[in-house]
Protein backbone atom coordinates (compact mmCIF):
# COMPACT_ATOMS: atom_id res chain seq x y z
CA UNK A 1 0.00 0.00 0.00
CA UNK A 2 2.74 2.40 1.05
CA UNK A 3 4.69 1.51 -2.04
CA UNK A 4 1.72 2.32 -4.27
CA UNK A 5 1.30 5.77 -2.69
CA UNK A 6 4.98 6.45 -3.14
CA UNK A 7 4.75 5.45 -6.78
CA UNK A 8 1.83 7.77 -7.35
CA UNK A 9 3.58 10.67 -5.66
CA UNK A 10 6.65 10.03 -7.70
CA UNK A 11 4.62 10.12 -10.91
CA UNK A 12 2.98 13.36 -9.78
CA UNK A 13 6.37 14.85 -9.01
CA UNK A 14 7.71 13.96 -12.46
CA UNK A 15 4.57 15.34 -14.08
CA UNK A 16 4.95 18.65 -12.23
CA UNK A 17 8.57 18.85 -13.24
CA UNK A 18 7.45 18.40 -16.84
CA UNK A 19 4.88 21.15 -16.41
CA UNK A 20 7.56 23.39 -14.99
CA UNK A 21 9.67 22.68 -18.01
CA UNK A 22 7.05 23.59 -20.59
CA UNK A 23 5.57 26.54 -18.74
CA UNK A 24 7.43 29.77 -19.24
CA UNK A 25 5.35 31.81 -16.86
CA UNK A 26 8.12 34.22 -15.90
CA UNK A 27 8.91 35.46 -19.39
CA UNK A 28 5.20 35.56 -20.20
CA UNK A 29 4.74 37.94 -17.32
CA UNK A 30 7.06 40.45 -19.01
CA UNK A 31 6.60 39.85 -22.74
CA UNK A 32 3.23 38.11 -22.75
CA UNK A 33 1.40 41.39 -23.02
CA UNK A 34 3.06 42.57 -26.23
CA UNK A 35 0.60 43.97 -28.71
CA UNK A 36 -0.09 42.58 -32.16
CA UNK A 37 2.65 43.45 -34.65
CA UNK A 38 1.91 46.31 -37.02
CA UNK A 39 3.85 44.55 -39.75
CA UNK A 40 1.50 41.60 -39.51
CA UNK A 41 -1.16 43.75 -41.14
CA UNK A 42 0.89 44.14 -44.31
CA UNK A 43 0.07 40.68 -45.58
CA UNK A 44 2.33 38.32 -47.45
CA UNK A 45 3.09 40.48 -50.48
CA UNK A 46 6.71 40.33 -51.48
CA UNK A 47 7.16 44.08 -51.57
CA UNK A 48 5.29 47.07 -50.17
CA UNK A 49 6.38 49.50 -52.84
CA UNK A 50 9.28 51.21 -54.56
CA UNK A 51 7.94 54.73 -54.33
CA UNK A 52 7.76 54.76 -50.55
CA UNK A 53 10.26 56.96 -48.79
CA UNK A 54 11.43 55.79 -45.39
CA UNK A 55 13.68 57.62 -42.90
CA UNK A 56 16.98 56.81 -41.31
CA UNK A 57 19.73 58.42 -39.30
CA UNK A 58 21.03 61.73 -40.56
CA UNK A 59 23.54 62.80 -37.91
Amino acid sequence: MKHAVTQRLLKLFVFLLFLGHVTACDDARVYGSVGVSSYGGLGGGSRVGGSISIGGRIR
Binding site: A24, G32, V34, S37, S38, Y39, L42, R57
Partner: protein, 307 residues
Amino acid sequence: MRLICVFALALVYLLQGCASSQLRLPSVTDAPSGYRQAGKIIWHDLITHTPAASKRFYHKLFGWEFEDLGLDFGLGRTVNYTLIRNRGELIGGMVDANLLGRPNPEQLSQWLVAMSVDDIASEVSAALSNGGKVLTPPTDVAERGTIALIEDDQGAMLALLQTRDGDPIDTEARTGSFLWDEVWTEDVERAAVFYTGLANLEAGIFVMANGSGYRHMSSAGAARFGILATPIEGLSPTWTSYVRVEQPAAILAQVTGLGGRVLVPLQDRGEVERVALLAGPSGAGLAIQTWSGQIDIASRQLRGARD
Protein backbone atom coordinates in the same frame (compact mmCIF):
# COMPACT_ATOMS: atom_id res chain seq x y z
CA MET B 1 5.66 9.55 6.38
CA ARG B 2 8.93 11.40 5.91
CA LEU B 3 8.80 10.65 2.20
CA ILE B 4 5.32 12.12 1.94
CA CYS B 5 6.51 15.30 3.67
CA VAL B 6 9.34 15.64 1.19
CA PHE B 7 6.96 15.22 -1.73
CA ALA B 8 4.52 17.70 -0.20
CA LEU B 9 7.26 20.30 0.23
CA ALA B 10 8.41 19.74 -3.34
CA LEU B 11 4.84 20.15 -4.53
CA VAL B 12 4.41 23.45 -2.69
CA TYR B 13 7.75 24.66 -4.06
CA LEU B 14 6.77 23.81 -7.61
CA LEU B 15 3.32 25.36 -7.36
CA GLN B 16 4.75 28.55 -5.91
CA GLY B 17 7.47 28.64 -8.53
CA CYS B 18 5.31 30.20 -11.20
CA ALA B 19 3.81 32.78 -8.90
CA SER B 20 7.09 33.93 -7.49
CA SER B 21 9.58 33.17 -10.26
CA GLN B 22 11.35 36.03 -11.86
CA LEU B 23 12.62 36.42 -15.40
CA ARG B 24 16.31 36.81 -14.74
CA LEU B 25 17.98 38.68 -17.58
CA PRO B 26 21.59 39.83 -17.76
CA SER B 27 22.56 43.46 -18.20
CA VAL B 28 22.09 45.04 -21.63
CA THR B 29 25.85 45.40 -21.89
CA ASP B 30 28.93 43.47 -20.86
CA ALA B 31 30.40 46.75 -19.63
CA PRO B 32 27.72 48.78 -17.81
CA SER B 33 28.62 52.45 -17.60
CA GLY B 34 27.31 52.92 -14.08
CA TYR B 35 25.00 55.70 -15.24
CA ARG B 36 21.81 55.98 -17.26
CA GLN B 37 21.16 58.05 -20.37
CA ALA B 38 17.44 58.68 -20.17
CA GLY B 39 15.77 58.82 -23.56
CA LYS B 40 18.37 56.68 -25.32
CA ILE B 41 17.26 53.49 -27.05
CA ILE B 42 19.48 50.93 -25.36
CA TRP B 43 18.05 47.55 -26.33
CA HIS B 44 16.19 45.69 -29.07
CA ASP B 45 14.17 42.50 -28.54
CA LEU B 46 12.92 40.33 -31.38
CA ILE B 47 9.63 38.65 -30.56
CA THR B 48 9.36 35.83 -33.09
CA HIS B 49 7.20 32.77 -33.70
CA THR B 50 9.92 31.31 -35.95
CA PRO B 51 12.98 31.38 -33.66
CA ALA B 52 15.06 28.85 -35.59
CA ALA B 53 14.41 30.51 -38.96
CA SER B 54 15.04 33.94 -37.43
CA LYS B 55 18.39 32.84 -36.03
CA ARG B 56 19.46 31.51 -39.41
CA PHE B 57 18.19 34.60 -41.23
CA TYR B 58 19.99 37.17 -39.11
CA HIS B 59 23.14 35.08 -38.79
CA LYS B 60 23.46 34.81 -42.56
CA LEU B 61 22.52 38.44 -43.13
CA PHE B 62 24.50 40.24 -40.44
CA GLY B 63 26.66 37.54 -38.85
CA TRP B 64 24.77 37.74 -35.56
CA GLU B 65 25.38 35.07 -32.95
CA PHE B 66 22.69 33.70 -30.66
CA GLU B 67 23.14 32.55 -27.10
CA ASP B 68 20.25 30.74 -25.39
CA LEU B 69 20.04 31.60 -21.71
CA GLY B 70 19.46 27.96 -20.79
CA LEU B 71 18.03 26.44 -17.66
CA ASP B 72 16.53 28.33 -14.78
CA PHE B 73 16.41 27.41 -11.08
CA GLY B 74 17.62 23.87 -11.78
CA LEU B 75 14.04 22.70 -12.27
CA GLY B 76 14.56 21.80 -15.87
CA ARG B 77 12.67 24.85 -17.12
CA THR B 78 14.39 26.66 -19.95
CA VAL B 79 14.36 30.43 -19.97
CA ASN B 80 12.56 31.74 -23.02
CA TYR B 81 15.24 34.26 -23.89
CA THR B 82 18.17 34.33 -26.28
CA LEU B 83 20.91 36.94 -26.36
CA ILE B 84 21.99 38.37 -29.71
CA ARG B 85 25.60 39.37 -30.29
CA ASN B 86 27.22 41.13 -33.21
CA ARG B 87 30.88 40.08 -33.36
CA GLY B 88 30.83 39.58 -29.62
CA GLU B 89 29.00 42.79 -28.77
CA LEU B 90 25.69 42.36 -26.98
CA ILE B 91 23.05 44.07 -29.14
CA GLY B 92 19.67 42.52 -28.37
CA GLY B 93 17.52 39.63 -27.31
CA MET B 94 15.05 37.18 -28.78
CA VAL B 95 11.84 35.79 -27.28
CA ASP B 96 9.94 32.79 -28.66
CA ALA B 97 6.38 34.02 -29.19
CA ASN B 98 5.11 30.42 -29.15
CA LEU B 99 5.92 30.16 -25.44
CA LEU B 100 4.12 33.30 -24.31
CA GLY B 101 0.80 31.57 -23.80
CA ARG B 102 -0.97 33.74 -26.32
CA PRO B 103 -3.20 32.64 -29.20
CA ASN B 104 -1.94 33.36 -32.72
CA PRO B 105 1.71 33.87 -31.77
CA GLU B 106 2.52 34.70 -35.39
CA GLN B 107 0.73 38.01 -34.89
CA LEU B 108 3.17 39.03 -32.16
CA SER B 109 6.34 38.86 -34.23
CA GLN B 110 8.08 42.23 -34.14
CA TRP B 111 11.11 44.15 -32.94
CA LEU B 112 10.63 45.86 -29.60
CA VAL B 113 12.84 48.79 -28.59
CA ALA B 114 13.70 49.65 -24.99
CA MET B 115 14.23 53.26 -23.93
CA SER B 116 16.41 54.08 -20.96
CA VAL B 117 14.71 55.86 -18.07
CA ASP B 118 15.94 57.06 -14.70
CA ASP B 119 12.76 56.53 -12.73
CA ILE B 120 10.51 53.94 -14.33
CA ALA B 121 7.56 54.48 -11.99
CA SER B 122 7.33 58.18 -12.74
CA GLU B 123 7.87 57.66 -16.49
CA VAL B 124 5.07 55.08 -16.64
CA SER B 125 2.84 57.56 -14.81
CA ALA B 126 3.83 60.28 -17.26
CA ALA B 127 3.03 58.03 -20.23
CA LEU B 128 -0.39 57.29 -18.74
CA SER B 129 -1.05 60.97 -18.09
CA ASN B 130 -0.18 61.78 -21.69
CA GLY B 131 -2.63 59.28 -23.16
CA GLY B 132 -0.37 56.21 -23.30
CA LYS B 133 -1.23 52.71 -22.15
CA VAL B 134 0.62 50.34 -19.83
CA LEU B 135 0.88 46.78 -21.17
CA THR B 136 3.28 45.43 -18.55
CA PRO B 137 3.76 47.34 -15.31
CA PRO B 138 7.32 47.87 -14.01
CA THR B 139 8.77 44.39 -13.49
CA ASP B 140 12.10 43.43 -11.96
CA VAL B 141 14.25 41.42 -14.36
CA ALA B 142 17.28 40.93 -12.13
CA GLU B 143 20.64 42.18 -13.43
CA ARG B 144 18.97 43.98 -16.34
CA GLY B 145 16.93 46.23 -14.09
CA THR B 146 13.23 47.04 -14.18
CA ILE B 147 11.22 46.92 -17.38
CA ALA B 148 7.74 48.09 -18.38
CA LEU B 149 5.92 47.80 -21.71
CA ILE B 150 3.84 50.73 -22.83
CA GLU B 151 2.09 52.10 -25.88
CA ASP B 152 2.35 55.77 -26.78
CA ASP B 153 -0.84 57.75 -27.28
CA GLN B 154 -1.06 56.62 -30.94
CA GLY B 155 -0.43 52.94 -30.24
CA ALA B 156 3.28 52.46 -30.94
CA MET B 157 4.66 49.97 -28.42
CA LEU B 158 7.98 50.28 -26.64
CA ALA B 159 9.66 49.15 -23.45
CA LEU B 160 10.95 51.45 -20.75
CA LEU B 161 14.02 50.12 -18.98
CA GLN B 162 15.62 51.37 -15.80
CA THR B 163 18.95 49.59 -15.89
CA ARG B 164 20.38 48.34 -12.63
CA ASP B 165 24.07 48.86 -13.35
CA GLY B 166 23.95 51.51 -16.04
CA ASP B 167 23.45 51.85 -19.79
CA PRO B 168 25.91 51.01 -22.57
CA ILE B 169 28.47 53.71 -23.17
CA ASP B 170 27.81 55.85 -26.26
CA THR B 171 29.84 54.52 -29.16
CA GLU B 172 29.53 54.63 -32.92
CA ALA B 173 27.46 51.68 -34.11
CA ARG B 174 29.54 48.91 -35.66
CA THR B 175 28.53 47.34 -38.94
CA GLY B 176 25.76 44.91 -38.05
CA SER B 177 24.72 46.81 -34.91
CA PHE B 178 21.71 49.05 -34.39
CA LEU B 179 22.32 52.49 -35.83
CA TRP B 180 19.05 54.33 -35.38
CA ASP B 181 15.42 54.04 -34.37
CA GLU B 182 12.25 55.79 -35.49
CA VAL B 183 8.65 56.00 -34.40
CA TRP B 184 6.42 55.63 -37.43
CA THR B 185 3.19 57.29 -36.50
CA GLU B 186 0.07 59.00 -37.80
CA ASP B 187 0.59 62.45 -36.31
CA VAL B 188 4.25 63.44 -36.04
CA GLU B 189 3.71 66.58 -33.98
CA ARG B 190 1.42 64.78 -31.54
CA ALA B 191 4.07 62.09 -31.12
CA ALA B 192 6.70 64.78 -30.49
CA VAL B 193 4.53 66.16 -27.69
CA PHE B 194 4.06 62.69 -26.17
CA TYR B 195 7.77 61.87 -26.17
CA THR B 196 8.67 65.35 -24.91
CA GLY B 197 6.87 64.27 -21.76
CA LEU B 198 9.15 61.24 -21.34
CA ALA B 199 12.71 60.85 -20.08
CA ASN B 200 13.80 64.48 -20.47
CA LEU B 201 13.51 64.24 -24.24
CA GLU B 202 13.46 67.36 -26.38
CA ALA B 203 12.03 67.66 -29.85
CA GLY B 204 13.91 69.20 -32.73
CA ILE B 205 14.00 69.29 -36.51
CA PHE B 206 16.85 68.50 -38.83
CA VAL B 207 16.63 70.20 -42.21
CA MET B 208 17.92 68.04 -44.99
CA ALA B 209 19.92 69.39 -47.90
CA ASN B 210 16.78 69.20 -50.06
CA GLY B 211 14.91 71.42 -47.61
CA SER B 212 12.70 68.74 -46.11
CA GLY B 213 12.41 68.53 -42.34
CA TYR B 214 13.03 65.51 -40.15
CA ARG B 215 11.61 65.48 -36.65
CA HIS B 216 13.82 63.91 -34.03
CA MET B 217 14.04 63.63 -30.26
CA SER B 218 17.20 64.22 -28.26
CA SER B 219 18.36 64.02 -24.69
CA ALA B 220 21.54 65.30 -23.05
CA GLY B 221 22.43 66.93 -26.34
CA ALA B 222 22.38 63.70 -28.37
CA ALA B 223 19.85 62.74 -31.04
CA ARG B 224 18.12 59.57 -29.81
CA PHE B 225 15.48 58.70 -32.41
CA GLY B 226 13.40 60.11 -35.22
CA ILE B 227 9.67 60.51 -35.78
CA LEU B 228 8.24 59.84 -39.20
CA ALA B 229 4.75 59.91 -40.64
CA THR B 230 4.03 56.25 -41.34
CA PRO B 231 5.28 55.83 -44.90
CA ILE B 232 3.42 52.60 -45.57
CA GLU B 233 -0.29 52.49 -46.04
CA GLY B 234 -1.98 50.11 -43.63
CA LEU B 235 0.89 50.07 -41.16
CA SER B 236 -0.34 51.09 -37.73
CA PRO B 237 2.01 53.16 -35.51
CA THR B 238 5.17 51.24 -34.71
CA TRP B 239 8.84 51.63 -33.94
CA THR B 240 11.27 50.74 -36.71
CA SER B 241 14.96 50.11 -36.08
CA TYR B 242 17.88 50.51 -38.49
CA VAL B 243 20.88 48.20 -38.63
CA ARG B 244 24.14 49.57 -39.98
CA VAL B 245 25.36 47.78 -43.08
CA GLU B 246 28.20 48.27 -45.54
CA GLN B 247 26.83 46.62 -48.66
CA PRO B 248 23.05 46.93 -48.61
CA ALA B 249 22.50 45.59 -52.13
CA ALA B 250 24.35 42.38 -51.31
CA ILE B 251 22.30 41.97 -48.15
CA LEU B 252 18.98 42.57 -49.87
CA ALA B 253 19.91 40.02 -52.52
CA GLN B 254 19.93 37.33 -49.81
CA VAL B 255 16.69 38.26 -48.06
CA THR B 256 14.18 36.31 -50.09
CA GLY B 257 16.32 33.18 -50.25
CA LEU B 258 16.57 33.18 -46.47
CA GLY B 259 12.82 33.38 -45.99
CA GLY B 260 12.42 37.13 -45.59
CA ARG B 261 10.91 39.86 -47.75
CA VAL B 262 12.17 43.14 -49.11
CA LEU B 263 9.41 45.57 -48.19
CA VAL B 264 10.98 48.77 -49.49
CA PRO B 265 13.91 48.50 -51.89
CA LEU B 266 17.16 50.39 -51.59
CA GLN B 267 16.84 54.16 -51.73
CA ASP B 268 18.88 57.25 -50.93
CA ARG B 269 18.88 58.80 -47.50
CA GLY B 270 20.17 62.31 -47.87
CA GLU B 271 23.09 62.73 -50.24
CA VAL B 272 25.31 59.82 -49.32
CA GLU B 273 23.49 57.16 -47.34
CA ARG B 274 21.27 54.30 -48.49
CA VAL B 275 18.34 52.68 -46.67
CA ALA B 276 15.91 49.81 -47.24
CA LEU B 277 13.21 48.01 -45.29
CA LEU B 278 12.93 44.26 -44.97
CA ALA B 279 10.94 41.70 -43.01
CA GLY B 280 12.47 38.62 -41.42
CA PRO B 281 10.97 35.12 -41.65
CA SER B 282 8.54 35.91 -38.85
CA GLY B 283 7.37 39.11 -40.57
CA ALA B 284 9.07 41.49 -38.14
CA GLY B 285 10.11 44.65 -39.97
CA LEU B 286 13.67 45.94 -39.80
CA ALA B 287 15.47 48.64 -41.78
CA ILE B 288 19.08 48.65 -42.93
CA GLN B 289 21.21 51.72 -43.53
CA THR B 290 24.71 52.60 -44.60
CA TRP B 291 26.52 55.05 -42.39
CA SER B 292 29.48 57.16 -43.32
CA GLY B 293 28.80 59.90 -40.81
CA GLN B 294 29.02 62.50 -43.56
CA ILE B 295 25.36 63.15 -44.02
CA ASP B 296 25.11 65.63 -41.18
CA ILE B 297 27.31 68.05 -43.12
CA ALA B 298 24.31 68.71 -45.30
CA SER B 299 21.85 69.05 -42.47
CA ARG B 300 21.45 71.32 -39.51
CA GLN B 301 19.26 71.45 -36.47
CA LEU B 302 16.72 74.19 -36.77
CA ARG B 303 14.83 74.48 -33.53
CA GLY B 304 13.31 72.68 -30.59
CA ALA B 305 9.63 71.83 -30.44
CA ARG B 306 9.14 74.10 -27.48
CA ASP B 307 10.06 77.25 -29.47
